[in-house]
Amino acid sequence: MDGEAFIELHGITKHFPGVTANDQVDLTVRTGEIHAIVGENGAGKSTLMRILYGLYQPDAGTITVKGRPATIDGPRAALAHGIGMVHQHFMLIPVFTVAENVILGNEPTTGIGRLRLREAEAEIAELCRRHGFALDPAAKVEALSVGEQQRVEIIKVLYRGAELLILDEPTAVLVPQEVDELFANLRRLKEQGKTIIFISHKLDEVLEISDRITVLRRGRVVGTVEAAATTKPQLAEMMVGRPVLLELAHPPVSRGEARLEARAVTVATGVGRRRHPVRHVSLSVHAGEIYGIAGVEGNGQTELVEALVGLRPIVTGQLLIEGRDVTQQSARAIRLMGVAHIPEDRHRRGLALPMAVWENMILGHHYRDDFVNGLLVDRPAVDRFVAQRVRDYDIRVADTDAPALALSGGNQQKVIVAREFSFAPRVLVAAQPTRGLDIGATEFVQRQLLAARAGGMAVLLVSAWLEEVLSLADRIGVMYGGELVAEFERGQVSAAELGLYMTGTKRGAGVPA
């Protein structure tokens, strides 16, 4: 493990207009180690990796590869130095086979230009065998699971001769079983002498897989520690700069009446409405509980949420709010019955980014008598409301006339949360409410959800982040292939068990018929 330095960065500094993304960063990655880089959003992880991969040029500082000074002016140069990057978002062509994807951009041909696909397949099969990757080079990529697609991405980089692999948030898209497989692959790669840089903000995973951990905060290196010699709370404190409560209190709250009920709800999309992204989903969310929906993204959660808040027509089944049938009601009517909605994509559904912060703060409440004076928007009343919300939710904004796009992601989400918690909602539908937020903002939003539950609100929480569902929800439903395949009470199920339902391996536990 105590190999020589593969890569040394000294005093790397990178400015962007208005921010210093990397400030005098020193980093040494040793040959044959798994080195994790952690930090909150905006800490400068991605910028640093882009510099290493040649996508950005540093404003100052030096890069040394295997003891020799190096200039990395593009991905090709990076690969020439043995550095490869596995991107967070896969760049694969679904209708191509594994082998065709792997050789793309680097195709081996005969003298007259014929593609040497057979030879390439054999070579890739050998690569997979040597590194212990279960992958068929002749399989079509569209038929592969997410975990397998990620393996293709890794093989792609290995095929190009990379000795050092940068993995950017590789576990973000994986279920627990796939994470285990990925880690097994990474350990095998390490045994074969490869070096790995692992970028993440999930501290448990970082502690499990890496040898050493470098923490970044606001563009600076806070420190590099041995994984064996540190703990999760220590890492969290290094990241955030203050002690963080990692476990939120979840006191018992008595479950009240059913506020939001879906009865065999089916949603149709596509040409002729022949696709059914949501099929026969039945669930009920009660006052004083958080009902969590777990699932790999793209299994109908998005469509279900939109159907529940009136943004998508329900073709069969019933939707009831506080006992009243609202199946055919508009989004506005459902809102007015006290259903608040934190959309999964705050930029697409949550905010009108070019509009002012104050305007976004009343979006969806703007037709309330409180905010209109005849036909006019009642600015004094709105300003009082906005000022109050900004104070209560600690939204960092110098001027509420500034457009919402000027805020950070965390502050944007706070605007939505502040808005949706206004006017005493009876039901809250929260989809991916902490996505892309840093630890501080995540903690804030989760506290708000628990406070709402304590206050007797009925909360439906949809999250692709399993730990979040497990720590917050009173009951957990699992969606797979558009159906609710299982339902559990809090504490009755483990993450691993949920993973089996999320991938469709198991189904049918405690689901109301």
């Binding site: 506005r332 909605h341 959309p343 980014l353 928007v377």
Partner: protein, 377 residues
């Protein structure tokens, strides 16, 4: 800061106009003339003569309405290319009400004619917007098609159905005269009293005031009312507006109808304000000029007034240049086109710069010390 942002925003059109002048200068130099002399003639001719000033106002009147009509559809991200056709139909409807009804008092007949013009425009706008909302047909295609239909239909109506029998035997193809009660009053009496006289003063009519009032009222509606708020939300992010319970399609429908109604008024400057009949040679292309004006004004109703005045000025200046400086007026048309192209680029650059500035301000992020900053790659 706010004052600075405003200045920056105002700088874009100024830069674009400057760039347009620069390119035109090169063209003027290429034909062996002195650009400064040409621009001098243009400014002197347009701005120092009473007849020029009133001519500019007269020419700007339909441009204000055309720019405003296009801008209103642009405000909800709909591209009403059909302002041209809607204006033909509005012009005909107004003329029809004007020459068929007789004996009504002006207090009734003129408002009726104005309403007919708006209804004619809206009728022509109704087909594309319904196809858009119900069937998803792209409004650019449908409005262009509607323009062709309007153009053919109006020639048929003027030439074959409602041709003024009094003109039989002459080459003049036009409708009968509009009743005096339906004519838009000239502003000449007011200006005569102030000492301005001449045929160009005579032409200027009250439609200019209607156009200005519409711009001011709509600027206020968009900025201050609940409806205006919804319009801005739908334009800024339809997905978020929908999630907030705003009926996007209703907002889009009414903004398109508003656009078409204003389009219906464009032709009245000539028909009810000047000629008093609808001629087969009535001015065409005003709807398309409206697109340029809306673009220059950034869809801001008050900006439309300034942009329309600029176009009126350039148009008048082109005549002066042709006559006194012996430069083809196409030079000025080229300048107009360059200004439009430059404005698109200038706005984009300004918007990016302003967004960056705002990002720094909004959260009070400390700015990086400039000396250390190297240019971005």
């Amino acid at each position: 800061m706010k004052a600075r942002l405003f200045l920056l925003q105002a700088a874009a059109p100024v830069l674009a106009i400057g760039f347009g002048m620069l390119i035109s200068s090169i063209i003027i130099l290429a034909i062996g003339r002195n650009p400064l002399e040409v621009f001098g003639v243009m400014v002197r001719f347009s701005l120092t003569r009473t007849d020029s000033l009133f001519s500019i106002l007269f020419k700007s009147t339909p441009l204000i309405l055309a720019g405003l009509a296009v801008a209103m559809s642009f405000r909800v991200n709909l591209f009403n290319i059909g302002v041209e056709g809607q204006y033909y139909m509005g012009a005909f409807a107004a003329a029809f009400v004007g020459f068929t009804l007789r004996g009504l008092p002006a207090g009734i007949h003129l408002p009726l004619a104005l309403l007919a013009a708006m209804a004619g425009g809206m009728l022509w706008g109704l087909v594309p917007i319904l196809l858009k909302i119900r069937r998803g047909a792209h409004e650019v295609i449908t409005t262009i098609m509607m323009n062709y239909i309007a153009s053919a239909l109006i020639l048929y109506l003027i030439a074959d159905v409602f041709r003024d029998p009094a003109q039989a035997g002459t080459p003049r193809v036009r409708t009968p005269d509009v009743a005096a009660a339906a004519r838009i009053p000239s502003l000449a009496p007011v200006f005569n009293r102030l000492g301005f006289t001449g045929s160009d003063v005579q032409k200027l009519n009250a439609l200019l005031l209607i156009g200005l009032a519409l711009c001011i009222v709509l600027a206020y509606v968009l900025a201050r009312t609940r409806f205006g708020y919804e319009v801005r939300a739908v334009a800024a992010n339809p997905g978020a507006a929908e999630a907030a319970g705003i009926a996007n399609r209703r907002v889009e429908f009414w903004m398109f109808m508003l656009s078409a109604a204003i389009a219906g008024l464009i032709g009245l400057n000539d028909i009810l304000g000047f000629f008093g009949y609808l001629d087969i040679d009535f001015p065409k292309g005003l709807g398309f000029l409206g697109i340029s004006i809306a673009l220059l004004a950034r869809n801001n109703p008050l900006g439309v007034i300034l942009a329309a005045l600029l176009f009126g000025f350039l148009d008048r200046g082109a005549q002066g240049v042709q006559f006194f400086a012996r430069i083809p007026k196409e030079t000025i048309v080229i300048m107009q086109a360059i200004i439009i192209l430059a404005i698109v680029v200038a706005y984009e650059l300004m918007t990016r710069y302003i967004r960056m500035q705002r990002k720094r301000e909004a959260e009070g992020t400390p700015t990086v010390s400039p000396p250390a900053m190297a240019p971005a790659p």
